[in-house]
Symmetry: C2
Subunit: 200 residues, 2 copies
DNA sequence: CATTAAAAAGACCGTCCGGTTTTAAATTTC
DNA sequence: GAAATTTAAAACCGGACGGTCTTTTTAATG
């Protein structure tokens, strides 16, 4: 791996935390210069625009989240356990792990609009992925008779994501994890109601 | 009412929609000039800084929402009906009514952080108000034997707000009201489970 | 180790930003 | 309707922004 590639990765990693914390518009190249310890010319040697750097940083955040989710559910066997593992990752996210600034999808969803179509498209893709992973877990759970089939999987997925994201917003606003903890408690309890009593 | 006061109000109203839609940082004075049809000097005659204008605009958005909520629940008699009325207002909000750009609390909560303590404080106040209104409705409902007393009112309030706000985020991201509609459907159904069978 | 290519630094540029000040126009007020 | 006052316009300002370009330094290559 060339040195330039390593530097580029370092910039992306440092910038991703900064952008996710401060916002994409609120963060200037000067901020990224300070964070990385590099000069402007050194940074622009690797990215043709702030936009490109921002998108790379967002992708890195999403990839990091995705990896964390995958690791969390790998050892879990049932659908219920997998969904609970998801919830634990979101709890960590409220404590700035593995990336600072909260959920990158939530942040980017609020910040991106018609004026930033590229970021919005990437955010949609990231949400699509999160959504379909959860949906698949539920449907697999139904197939395996772990979850009762009366559940509406699409609705449940929507509620699951919405509740978590909304309470993450509240947790960040008040700097108090009670809100995300209440959501997690609720979702675990709610989910247990759809658990089959016996599995075969 | 002096003409200046009327002009100031007009600026606040126009700016509030713009700021709520585009974001507080992403919106420039030039944008507000275009929207209001006024020149810079004319605007700064009424506000000592962009910050002051932004906070006034945010307050206006919150006041508008608050009024809309009050009107929606005024004619309702039971707690359940009042909460359902709240949900209907959030559905309208997804369609840019009464203000464009979605929920101002959600938007400001994500955008404001340590770097913008004034906006964050105002956002917290607005959330406090929303939270306590819903909480009071539930508690009144319990007192009046409309809602069973096993419900945890704080948790329910948190879930209520989180689910709505999260699904508003999804609705905005995808420009599709199915998400907010699913949340509303879920919350109405969930709420009905806590409804007492007979009232006295 | 010398040559070459890649990477980083740093000076530089035009533009747009929030904000100020001066000037002109439009309202009040008497 | 003239004087006083408020309101709006418009020219202006310093600074920060994203981005470029040239130079210097560093790292890879034979």
């Amino acid at each position: 791996m060339r040195k330039g590639e390593r530097t580029k990765q370092m910039i992306i990693e440092k910038a991703s935390g900064l952008l996710n914390t401060q916002g994409y518009l609120a963060t200037s190249i000067t901020d990224i210069m300070k964070k990385t310890g590099m000069e402007k010319g050194g940074i622009y040697n690797h990215f043709k625009s702030k936009q490109e750097l921002s998108l790379d940083a967002f992708s890195f955040s999403i990839k990091t989240m995705s990896t964390t989710f995958q690791e969390a559910i790998r050892s879990k066997n049932t659908s219920i356990e997998k969904l609970n593992a998801f919830l634990e990752v979101f709890l960590l996210l409220a404590e700035d792990k593995p990336i600072p600034g909260g959920c990158p999808i939530l942040n980017a969803a609020i910040e991106s609009d018609d004026a930033h179509p590229d970021l919005r498209d990437e955010t949609r893709k990231a949400m699509n992925d999160l959504y379909s992973v959860i949906l698949r877990i539920i449907r697999t759970g139904i197939s395996n008779n772990e979850i009762i089939s009366t559940i509406d999987s699409e609705t449940f997925t929507t509620i699951f994501i919405s509740t978590i994201e909304g309470s993450l917003m509240m947790t960040k606003l008040y700097n108090d994890t009670i809100y995300i903890n209440r959501s997690i408690g609720f979702l675990k309890d709610y989910l247990s109601k759809f658990e089959t009593r016996e599995s075969d």
